[in-house]
Structures are given as C-alpha cells and as structure tokens.
Symmetry: C2
Subunit: 479 residues, 2 copies
C-alpha cells in the first residue's frame, strides 16, 4: 500500500492547479521524460505507442483519400527558406541553424525544418511538368524544430513529431476542396478515434499560417476552459508556386501555375487527449488509440487456478482487442491505481469468487462503472464496452464544451467580464478589423480561435467597435 | 513507342558501368530525387513505400522479441556526446552542429544525432534504478545525420532514415545474447523478406563501432562483387553505462552497472535490394516489400469488356496481394517497360483473347517466365507465383554469391592477384594483427568484412605475415 498511496498523493488535483496536474500526469503516466536539451522531450514507450496508434489511424485515412508518403531532407538552405517572403518572416525568428558540418564552417547555413513547404516546392518544381503530373498528393511523417522560448510537454516543444501534407493541384477550386477535405479528415479522426469534439472554422488573417491565403482549423476545448488548436489545413493559392517557379503545361497547352495546400497534425494532439479526458486519477485514453485497451488484474493470484484463468481470458481477448495481464507481485490496489494513471479504458478483475460464478468484473476507466460479465459473453461484451467508453468520453467532452460556451451579444464590458469570469469559448460578432481583434486581445485577453463554418447569428454589430458585424467568431484563451 | 524507347535507352547497362547503372535506376524508377542540400535525398513515393514495408516487417519482428518504440531528441549537447571517449572520437568529425537558435547564439552547441547511444544513456540513467527496471528493450525510428564527403543515394547520404535499438541488461551474458538475437532478426529479415542471402559474423577491432566491445554484422554481396554491410548489432559491455553513471540495485542488494547493446538497419538496405536483384531493365523488388506486387495491364483495352474484366480481376486479387491496374492511354509496351523499371514482381496481362479462353498471362519480373493462369485459379496461383519469385530471387543471389566467393590459402601475391582480378568475397586466414589488416588494405585494396560465425579452415597461417592464423576472415571491397 506504501507505493499505491505515494502514487495517488503525487498528483495535484485538477481544480487546485491545472498546469501542475498536467505536468504530474505526463510524468507519472510515464508518457515523457525531460531531456538534457531545453524544450526537447523523450517520448517514453506509452507516449510513443499512443503516437503510433494516432499515426496508423491518420495514415490509413490519408491513403484512403489518395495520398502517398514521401520523405524530404530535414535541412533547408537559408536561400530556399527566403524564397517566399511571408513564410520566411513567420519562421526565421524561430529556427535552429546548422553552421558547421564536421570541422568545416558551411558557406551557407542550413535551418532544421520548422515545416517543409519550401523543400516540397523545390522538389515539385523539378517533377511537375504537365497537367498529367497533377494532382500531387504527398504527405510526410517527420520531426520538426521550432526554437520556442517557453515549452511544455506535447503542447509546445522545440522538437516535435508530426505529419505534414503538401499537395499541388491544377485549379484553385480543386485545391480549396482538398483543404476542406483534409480538415474534415482531422475532424472525423478527432471525433471518431480520439473522442474529442471539435469546432471547424477558418482562422482570421492575423492567426493564419505564414504564407497561406486561408487557414482552416479544428479547435477543441480543454478541461480548464482553454482552447487547443488541434489540426490545421492551409490553402496557399499559387503564391508559393510562383515564388518557386513551378509551372505546368495545361490541358489547353498553355503554361500555368498550380495551386497548393498543406495540412498538419502533431504530437500536440496528445496534449489535447490528456486535457480533454484526464481526471484526478490520471490519463483516460480513448479506446481506439489506447496501446492497452484491457488490463487483466488477477485477484488473490496465489490461489490455485487464478493465473491460469487470467491467461486463458487474455488469450481469448487477443482476438478482439489489445489486452495485457499484470501478474506481478504488486497488490491489486496498486495495480488499479497504476492502470488508472495510465488511462487503460477497461480493467478486468478475475478472482476465485468470479471463477466460481463463471464471470468477471469489468471496470470502465471513464466513469468507473462496474459490470459483471459472464465469461461466455466476453468476446462480445468487451468490444461493446470499449465502444461504450468511447461514446461516454465523447459525450462527456461535448457536454462540458457546451456548458462552457457562451454568447456575448453586448459590447466590450460584457466581453471583458465574460472572459475574466467564465473560462471557455465565447461567441461574439466581429467587424473584420484587425484593430478590434488586437483590442480584444489586449483588453479581454482573448484571441480569435476561428470563424466557425457553421455561422450563428449573435449580434448585428462588432463586440468591440459597434460597427456592422461580418462574422461570428469564437474567442478564447488558448494553449 | 517514343517514350518507351527513351526509357529503355536511358539506362546504362550494368556490365558497361555499374555505378552509372545504379544512378540511372534510382532516378528512372523514381525512388529518389536529389535535393538542394548536398548529399541529402528526397525519398519519392516508390522509395518511401519500400521503406515503409521494410519498417513494417522489421517493427513486427522487434515487437515479437519484446521491444518497445520510443523517441529521443534529435539534438545532442556537445558535452553529452563527449562523455564516452571512443564514441566522440568516432563521430565528432562527421556531425552537423547547430550553433544558433532563432536570433541567439547558443551557449553550448548541439549536434544533430549521428546515432543516439548518448541520449539513450542519459535517459537510462534517470529511469533505471533496480534490477526490476531491466531489461530495457527500446528501439527508435528516426533520421540521423553524418557529414559525409562523398555521397550516393541510399548507400551514403548525409541524412538517412533508420532504426536504432538500444537495450540495457542485468548481465553481460544477457546483453551478448540480445546482440546475437538482433543480428539473427536482421539476417532472417534479409533472407525471408528481401531475398538477400547474408553472411553473419563479427567485425575486427579495426572495423567495429566507436565505443563497442564487439560489433556483429551481416554482409551481402552486390552484383558487381562489392560487399554491402546490411545491418549491425553491437555489444558495449558496461562502458557507456559507466561513462553515464547508470547503476541499479541488484538482486543481492548491491549497486551494479548494466550491460548495453545497440543495433541498426537503415535505408542503405534499399541500395542492397537494388544492387542484389536489379538488372538492365531496372529494379527487381522482392515480393514481400514491393509496394505493388501485381500490375494488371489490359491489352487492347478499347475493346469491349477488357477494362471491366481487368477491374474485376483487380478486385478479386485485392484479397490476396497488393495489386494495381494501369488503364492509362499509354501503350502496353510502354507499360511493360515502366513496371519492369519499377520492379513490380508480377505483370498480369488480360486481353480479348485471354478473356475468350478464361485465362490471363502472368509474367515474372525475376526471370521473365510467362505463365498462362486459368482465371478460376487466380487467388491460389498468384500467391504461389509471388512465393516462386521470392525463392527464385534468393536462389539466384545465393548462386551468384557462391560463384563469386574464393578461398586464398597462399600468401600475399595470391591475395593481390585474387583481389585484382576476381570481384567478390575472398576467404583467407588472419593472425589477428592490425598491421596485417592494414597491409591487406594498402596492397590488395581489400578490407575485412567479417570473421564469419561459421568458421571454415582455409589455412594454418596468416595470408599476410605467415604467422599462425587465428581466424578465417572474409575480405572484400565494400560500399
Ligand atoms: Zn470592430
Ligand atoms: Zn598476419
């Protein structure tokens, strides 16, 4: 019991200090370890296994929508980064520079990719010649580096893992369609596999990606009422293509410029999983990406037949889910706390009394419900319960988001009051002026999360200046 | 026919200029594109898809042997790299240095990982406390950078993709066992999935990894008689663990130092696939890792029913293999050349005459054998034929290696003569002295590839100095 107590005590309750709770969870659940390099994290086996499952889920969706994976060099010569003006302005202040190779000083310094639009364009310029070469639907899985001043595991790290899709199209319409398609892929993935409800919308000009004409985003609400941008999809028009001299012979035999998109999701999404679903006992993992979906805990395992029965159940369950047994010498209580901390969706307890009754006890991680399952129904009930955990997690997150979303139809006083007292999403009308966006940031401390695709009428006038409103915007504090 | 001719003409025959043949194949088969950074390559969809299949095959074997994946930071502080003396001497001359982050100069420069022993050890020092924490069986998939002077796609590039396993064990015996186990995993993978026969052995001290006590290797013989080191597994003893202060409380309650291994396989293996199996028509891909295993080419596809039948066959074959149909407007001849260049193991031709006879024509890429297959037997025959292609490729490679392996029982004159006139592996006895190894390099132009585990008696005396021999070594010229 000594270690069990320690484990439970070690987590700061969410309500007491959310930031500390988060830090405690990532450490105690053994998702990451801090490394010797400031702001770079070690992804430990559980953290990386979650990422692997996210990769599998996303990659299958990318391939089903016709995309191919490639790998581009991680170094970008400074001159290449500078080819698109807005892009270099956005990224140059936060890149790592390689200046020496072996014992020699380089004639041109190389940055470690913060994102790969430039290297993809450099390649596209060499391989796109005719409309027959389009569309190019490429994606890459890699790590990128951004020299951040303050960092937090998953949420903001100097190096992080992600995927970046980069596509080229014959027409603007086709590229815009792709931008939307991939945002929908992200949204579906978040809802169907991560049990995270998201709001789809467009970023304001102030918040869009460096060099993009339009940035679409999915925004999720965390437990503490802060927003987390969970995936973005950008439409570039033909800006990069022109900057990189990419042309193709069109169907009408004229020389044309293609239209580009890019879209990305990163290990940041693991931060969203933690802060959407976690509780004071630790992680709560969505079944679709949980490395272990069911943990079998034998009760009174020294008694004859218990471990054999546990092994038998594990073998049966292998065919329907990812299952493990903990037959170590730790107490059942310690194991309960351990696998709750690690977010395993279902715990299956099997002891002498259960064996007698030909049943087992299944405990849901999401709501702690205890269910007696006849052993004969195991292969059918466990997948059903995993589905129920997913649905329960999604509904709980959706209910919380709805209870933390407010409309502000009045002016700045109401907005400042709402932002100060009610954590969550605030819907308010906006005139479209940068000045008002900046004023909202300065006075109310909120930024525009997105202009939701599903526009709702809140007010005819801008919450800040009172001029006619152009868009309803979701405002909030963000990670 | 214009483009078909161009395609065929563009490849330099192997016998005429092997190096140029290799360069032609990697370009024409669209495996890679050169990038704007010297020595860094772009892995195009076919090149990357091959790597993905290699990853899948290896990763399944790693997990089956109890390993877990993790991800370590790509940056290594200079002070960390310097902790193990032999290691830093081996790698410091060939690393890329990051000296600036954003606008600031770093107080300590960071190298981009050339390999990750040091960061793994840094992490292990923090997480290994008791014998209960051992073994640690970690692997990571990532890219690494080595500042090479001359580079060639896949064979030697500044940045390359690989996996690196790093494990820690309670005892030396257990670590040595792991080193051998992983070498066997590589060897089995090469033979069973890549159809590449390999020789397993130990590296001499001169050729072993920087910081290792012993390096085991698998060596394959390329078409031109040069050797290619295809995977290595290292035993470190407790050297790194001592340098990094990694200790654990043992079963007897004393403080002990763990024993370490590391092992890696990289995109270099794709070079081995090309140079073991390729021919004057291009790539020949082993079925297990071929992204497309069967390409369906409709003949006289404008005739009624042909494309429908092709689609029907594709749908049926989806259940047993990776299959695609090329229904583009290019001629069948162009398509034949194109998919031969890209190494697709089986071509399935279906035209009006075949449909009439309820059969199709299947052509093997490895030996061009043409087989008439009744359509009713398709799902059974295609997997059999893929197996036959694999076996045929393996046997052909093995026969070639055997026909290019020689024993030299005499002295240096015989060795120099053999090395100069017969490309391939040369078996000769060695006294164990570095001086002889260096003399063989200087005078005969060969290096020791390995001391094979299966020792064969060639001579009682060293091929170089005539002193008593300790080992039979395989010598050769290497990539
Ligand atoms: Zn306004
Ligand atoms: Zn000698």
């Amino acid at each position: 019991m000594g270690q069990e107590k320690k484990l439970v005590e070690a987590i700061t309750p969410m309500d007491q200090d959310f930031a500390q709770w988060y830090t405690d969870v990532v450490k105690k659940a053994e998702l990451v370890d801090y490394s010797g390099v400031r702001g770079c994290m070690v992804l430990r086996p559980l953290g990386y296994a979650i990422w692997e499952n996210i990769q599998k889920g996303l990659d299958a969706r990318f391939k089903a929508t016709g995309h191919e994976n490639v790998y581009m060099p991680m170094f970008i010569p400074e001159s290449l980064l500078q080819k698109e003006k807005d892009h270099v302005e956005g990224f140059a202040p936060e890149v790592a520079w390689v200046t020496h190779g072996g014992e020699e000083e380089l004639t041109e310094r190389l940055c470690v990719r913060p994102t790969s639009e430039t290297v993809f364009c450099d390649h596209y310029a060499r391989v796109i010649h005719s409309y027959r070469d389009l569309p190019k639907l490429y994606n890459q899985w890699c790590s990128v580096v951004r020299w951040e001043k303050t960092t937090r595991p998953f949420l903001r790290t100097m190096e992080f893992l992600w995927q970046e899709g980069h596509t080229m199209h014959e027409t603007a319409e086709e590229a815009i369609e792709e931008t939307e398609r991939m945002l929908n892929v992200y949204a579906d993935f978040c809802e169907e596999e991560l049990a995270i409800p998201v709001i789809k919308g467009q970023k304001t000009d102030k918040e869009k990606f460096a060099g993009a004409e339009a940035t679409y985003t999915i925004e999720a609400l965390m437990h503490d009422g802060k927003a987390l941008q969970s995936g973005t999809s950008h439409y570039f028009g033909d800006g990069f293509a022109r900057a990189f001299g990419i042309t193709f012979t069109g169907r009408d035999n004229t020389l044309q410029t293609p239209y580009e998109t890019s879209w990305g999701m990163s290990t940041r999404i693991i931060g969203a999983i933690i802060m959407t679903h976690g509780d004071d006992s630790g992680l709560v993992l969505p079944p679709a990406i949980a490395p272990t979906q069911v943990i079998i805990v034998p009760i009174a395992q020294h008694k004859p037949g218990v471990l054999d029965k546990a092994a038998q159940l594990e073998e049966r369950l292998q065919t329907v889910c990812r299952v493990k047994t903990d037959a170590s010498e730790q107490s059942p209580g310690w194991k309960f706390a351990e696998y709750e901390m690690k977010g395993v969706p279902l715990r299956l307890e099997i002891g002498p009394k259960d064996i007698e009754k030909d049943q087992c006890v299944v405990v849901r991680r999401d709501n702690r419900e205890k269910i007696f399952v006849p052993l004969s129904e195991l292969e059918q009930r466990i997948p059903e319960l995993l589905k129920a955990v997913h649905d329960g997690m999604y509904q709980k997150a959706l209910d919380r988001r709805e209870s933390m979303t407010y409309s502000v139809a009045g002016g700045m006083d109401e907005m400042i009051e709402a932002a100060a007292t009610r954590p969550g999403f605030i819907k308010a009308a906006w005139c479209g002026d940068l000045a008002c966006e900046e004023a909202l940031k300065e006075k109310a401390g909120v930024t525009s999360r997105c202009m939701p695709f599903e526009q709702e009428h809140i007010s005819d006038t801008c919450v800040c200046c009172g001029k006619p409103a152009k868009k309803t915007v979701i405002w909030g504090k963000a990670y």
